[in-house]
Structures are given as C-alpha cells and as structure tokens.
Symmetry: C2
Subunit: 347 residues, 2 copies
Amino acid sequence: MSRSIDLAVIPGDGIGQEVVAEGLKVLSAVLPQDVKLETTEYDFGARRYHATGETLTDEDLAALKGHDAILLGAIGDPSVPSGVLERGFLLKLRFAFDHHVNLRPSKLLPGVATPLAGEPQIDFVVVREGTEGPYTGNGGTIRKGTEHEVATEVSVNTAYGVERVVRDAFARAQARPRKKLALIHKNNVLTFAGHLWTDVFNRVAQEFPEVTTEYMHVDAATIYLVTQPERFDVIVTDNLFGDIVTDLAAAVSGGIGVAASGNINPSGQYPSMFEPVHGSAPDIAGQGKADPTATVLSVALLLRHLGLEAEAARIDEAVAADLVERTGLPARSTEEIGDALAARVAG
Amino acid sequence: MSRSIDLAVIPGDGIGQEVVAEGLKVLSAVLPQDVKLETTEYDFGARRYHATGETLTDEDLAALKGHDAILLGAIGDPSVPSGVLERGFLLKLRFAFDHHVNLRPSKLLPGVATPLAGEPQIDFVVVREGTEGPYTGNGGTIRKGTEHEVATEVSVNTAYGVERVVRDAFARAQARPRKKLALIHKNNVLTFAGHLWTDVFNRVAQEFPEVTTEYMHVDAATIYLVTQPERFDVIVTDNLFGDIVTDLAAAVSGGIGVAASGNINPSGQYPSMFEPVHGSAPDIAGQGKADPTATVLSVALLLRHLGLEAEAARIDEAVAADLVERTGLPARSTEEIGDALAARVAG
Ligand SMILES: CC(C)[C@H](C(=O)O)[C@@H](O)C(=O)O
Ligand SMILES: CC(C)[C@H](C(=O)O)[C@@H](O)C(=O)O
C-alpha cells in the first residue's frame, strides 16, 4: 500500500513565507518513508492583489479543491485597505470550503511565559463556528460619508449551522478525560441568536449525558479566562465571540507565537486549512525573527486531521521539549527553530 | 444659595440591596451641609416582575425622568428567563434615556490584587457606546424550534450615534495628561459598521490634533489588555465590544468588586444612571459578603457628573486608602466596608 499527501501551500504575506518554510521542513522530517508528500505552492495575498486586483477567483477555488489539505502562513499587508484580503481571501475561502469547525487549542506548555500570575493550568480547545454569525458579510451602508449614514451588520445563525458545530464540540468533549463543554454566547442581549444557540446546545447535550456542560456570557468568559483558565476543557461559541476569546486564550497560554488553528470541513467534501493564529507581522518580516512554532503546531493539527496521529503527537512532543529547552537562552532565528524541531521529530 | 440632589435609587436584586445601602451611606457622609439629598426608592427587578409581570412601564419612565440622577444596584435573578430583565429593564432604560456614553474607568489601585504577573500600571477609561450596535434588539427568528430555524441579530450604527460618542471620547482624552485614544472595532470583518466607525473617528481626530490615536481590532485588544495594559489611556468602542473589553478590563484591574460605571446622557435631557459593573450575585446575596466598593465608586462618578468634583475626589481617595489598608486583613462585611468608607470621607 502506498500513501500520499497532496498539500496546497499558501505562504502568503510577511512572515508567512518564513514560517511556512519551517512548517514544511518539519512535515517532511516527520513523515514515514512510505508517505509521499506532494506540495503545490499558491501565490495569494497582497502581492497578487496589487499585481492583478484578484484575491481568490473561481479558478483558484477549483484548483485548491483538489488537494488533501491546505497549509497557510499569513495573509495581510498594510498596503491593502482593511477588509479586502480578509473578506476577499481568508473569509471567502472559509465560507467556500464550508470550514465550519474552526479549531483552536490552548495549552500552556512548561517553560512558556504567560502574562498571568501564579502557575495557571491551561489546557482547553475552542471550537469556533466558522461559516455564520456576524461574519457572513450581510448588512450594508446607506448615505455613506454623510451625517445621515447608517451601517448595519447582520448576524445570521441557522439551526443547521449551529447544530453541526455544537455536535462536533460535544464529540470532542466526550473524547477528552475531563469531558466538560462550555457554551459561550450573550443570550441575555442577543436573544434571537442566543436562544437558538442555547436551545440547540441543550438539545444536543441530551445525547451526551457524560459531558458536563455550562453556559457563560462572553463578557464573563473573558474574566474566567484570566482568573480561572483551568476551568475550561472544551468551549463552543459563535464566529465573532470565538475570534475574540481565542486571541485572549492565545495570549494567556503563551502568546500567538505558539497558537495553532484548523479550519475544518469534517465531511471531507472540501480540503481543510491549517494556519497559525498570528498575522503577517510586516514589522518583523524578512528578518528571520518570526517564531515558526505556531505553524509547526498547525502542521500537527493537519496530520491529526489526516489520520496520522502518531506523527502529530511526535510534533507536539518536539515542540514541548523545544519550549522547555529554549527557556533563558538567547533567541534563535526562524530557521534555527525549524531545524531544531525537524531534528527532534526525525530523531 | 441652596443646592439639592434629587436621586432615584434602584437597589434591584440580590446583592444590589446591600451595596446600594452602603453607597447611600457614603454619599450622605461626603455631601456638604448645604447640599440637600432627597432619595426616592424604586422597586424594579425580579420581585416586581414575578408579582406584576412588569419590568419598566411608561409611568415608571416618566417618574424616573424627573430625578437628577439614578443610582442602581443590580438587576437579575436566575428565576427570570435570560433576557427578560436585561432587555426589559436595563437596556430599555439605557435606550429610553439615551445613555449613549457608557463610561467605565479601569484603574489598578495600590494594594489591589490582579491576575496579571508583575506590577502592571493600569489607568484607563473605556467610553462604550450605549444606544446602538448589536444591542438594538433588531433581528428575529423564523421557524423557531425546528431544524430550519434562522435567527438574526442586526447591528445598527449611525453617523449621528457614532460621532457623538467618539467626540465625547476625544474630549476626555484631551483632558487627560497622556491624551491618547484607541478605537477598538473589527473593521476588517465587519466592514460596513467598521468603516463608519473608522471614518468618523479619523474625521473627528482632525479637531483634536493633540490627541494621539490608534486603531486596534477587538481580538488584538484583548491581547494587549493582558500583555500591555499600560498602553491604554482612553478607549472608545461599540456597545458589544465595549461590554466584552470592560469586563476583561475590570478583571485585570482588581475585579468587578471595584469596577464602577456611568450610563450618561451628556445633554442632561434625561437623568444619567450610575451602577457597579457587577451583577446581582444571587449566590452570596443577603449574607453581607458583597464588596460595596464598586457602588461607592459609582457614587463618585455620579457626583462628578453633577459637578461635585471635590466630593467625588474625596471618595476616590477614601477608596484608595481603604484598599491599601485592607491588604492582608480578614475580609470585612459589606456594612463594615461601607462604614469605613463613610468615616473616611466624612473625616
Ligand atoms: C484576519 C481575520 C479575518 C481573522 C478572523 O477574524 O477570523 C483572524 O482574526 C482570525 O482569528 O483568524
Ligand atoms: C446585563 C447586561 C445587559 C449588561 C450589558 O451587556 O451591557 C452587562 O453585561 C453590563 O455590562 O452592564
């Protein structure tokens, strides 16, 4: 039997190029001999937008669709107006490929600095909905630029969309030792969407009697994330609340330098996409200063998604060992960190 | 010349009763002889809702309108379905009295514990918009309870509403030593509302050349609030983002036990309302365990709003001194803390 991974690689803008190179290095090093890795690089992001005005065409989507998975570095540059690449590329891809499970683990590893006092135990995963809520782009503007301008944003939430992501989160909670799931929303103010989320959550809960559940308003959740982060095991939440709490979660569990994410289509109908939570960081781009760890951990999520659990675990262990070892040492370059991780997973 | 304050008092639910009693005690103690204080107590909240089904009637609003200001304890009880008192009382009042400046200072006082490591310097104020955004209650549900349910929430943003709160925030920044103002939004995703906020912010900025401005996405802002809180001086943001970042801000600057807020109508057309950021905490209600400090600090905001700056400053100083002194001592009761603060402001 021969196995192969057909991977689309999108380095993107800024430090995206540098961190993806190291991610691929570690991926090659960890794969067993019998797994063939084929990569196709795609040039998306600011450069292409400036050259052609395009962000992501139908042809691009058709090409990407043929791959087993996508590895993304970062997209975004100050030379492009805010929203153009976000809506035109990142969100367009998440919506086109129905990436409804946006998976963002937060684990404070030994040796890693946290802004929190004491020695908090942090090990949870956020399941953020990825295709609905305030991210749909519904809404509009009238009388733009005048004193009578009105701008609306419409959060769209469907039983179909909420149930599938809630079900995914329950299954993940069920598979973890603590079996806890928290729903985060703001159902006391956003009563239409909030009641839908809460009702679906409570209904699906009946199918998972072993899972302990709780509900929490998003404002209160930010308090718990800094005062009692050990409280969380699995969190499920909407697209916008998920965006906010996962950045805070990354901050308390070692920073966005080590935060990985997967934009997952569980059905496999479309390829899933894996990317570090951080952005393109144009201020440090091209200087070899970026930490590729978040990208390497995203590669582990990718392998796990493709069923290569042992290889994913080897990457997680290599990163954990590297983070302990780097404590107190002078900062290494992007490449040095990648080399160290590749050596560990190969050895 | 004789002066008087005609105050509406709404103790509300749970610990609201206890903390408001101490707030009034400190208020009476701080007022000069020549200022007459008249209070009228109103019974709103869970008890009244269960007894009459009412949350806030037109007659209630007419009665409240006649006062100079409102002091609120807390509203909310688990016996009332989520959203009923929030939308039916708290938000109804904020909208009816056009409380568009929701003012929430965050200051980490000496002696106060923070979940953050090190000794962060925290002293900023959030100006949260209070009458628009996702809080308008616009939206709805179709096919409720079925697998085809769709629920929407519409965030409504107007140039009128955004400009007045942005202008208020610029004026506050201008009056502070550091003169810094940060706009928090998510203009790369919520492009309709985000561009309105950003355009208005940049336009008003031209009238305040001394104020240094920055823009920050809400997700990034949560990171800065835990890694670099000293970065902030004044923040202006929309209703929902303001709800989220002010709870996080309260958490890092000593907890919601000391977080005060004002729901302000700057024109004076309607009375402004002052309340602690915390809720009714039914789990500790009636036990004398609640810390009345947040309510007492809300009384200081109330006095400042009414032009009694010296008295407001006396309360702030009394609280600062009390917080230093309580460090390491056994916990005092609600009443003991109120007595101590009243003694300080009177002395
Ligand atoms: C860049 C932006 C569109 C994106 C989001 O809001 O989802 C980012 O913040 C993220 O969390 O992946
Ligand atoms: C209780 C709720 C309606 C309220 C809000 O969301 O504004 C509260 O969280 C607050 O911050 O005052």
